[in-house]
Symmetry: C2
Subunit: 135 residues, 2 copies
């Protein structure tokens, strides 16, 4: 089934910690983030695009809404994400996420305890890791 | 545009604080709720169904995914919610939400700071309030 884009695509968010084109829409304004101590955002990855390995000191929740995506916690197998799938990455746990090779992938991201939820960016995901050869 | 059901519909959650049929799917398990101090759930209201007036001591975020819904903060006009709309109800603020009269309505609900996020249930929403005559 083809799922529509429900949430705004937002702005080009390409940066050195993404391997290709990516778009980011913040769904809460700063006052709303402060009121709830939670950040909520929509991320859309171009096919094959993933972020670097990274971790969040207070964890992150991903809600897949569109396309096929990948998520991997270091040392574990890649999770294939389809619309409706929910992933929780625990605090201070290395992971990466992005689109599968053949479709865009959109997920809602939720960063709890935002005021203290510090990201730490690490090395790029290699093609061998992306292709599942190396965990 | 007709939007598909992306997240699980879950179980019948009909209760005295809803005016009609409603379904609830918890998207995180208890360990994940504890790890993130956040509850995330999918709610589907039958046409015309709404919950009672209530408030959350730490607030609530609603992400509309399907159908047309209503949300109202006491003293304000009704917000019409369509897929992609995001509402933040601040802490300790009376509100209600539910489906419009002609369609099911699904939203993701996010309750931040779950360990301390106490709901307080109040009186039913009258038909006059639902129909927008009385705020």
């Amino acid at each position: 089934m083809a799922y529509p884009e429900v949430f705004p695509r937002g702005e080009d968010a390409s940066s050195p910690v993404f391997s290709g084109p990516v778009w980011l829409a913040q769904l809460l304004d700063l006052a709303q983030v402060e009121a709830t101590d939670t950040s909520i955002y929509n991320v859309t990855f171009a096919p094959g695009c993933r972020n670097n390995w990274h971790r969040h000191s207070q964890g992150q929740v991903l809600l897949a809404t569109r396309g096929v995506g990948y998520h991997q916690i270091r040392g574990q197998a890649i999770d294939i994400m389809s619309p409706g799938d929910v992933i929780v990455c625990p605090p201070d746990t290395d992971h990466w996420h992005g689109a599968g090779p053949d479709s865009e992938f959109s997920h809602i991201g939720i960063s709890p305890r935002t005021a203290n939820n510090r990201p730490t960016w690490l090395e790029p995901v290699t093609d061998a890791q992306y292709n599942g050869a190396i965990t």
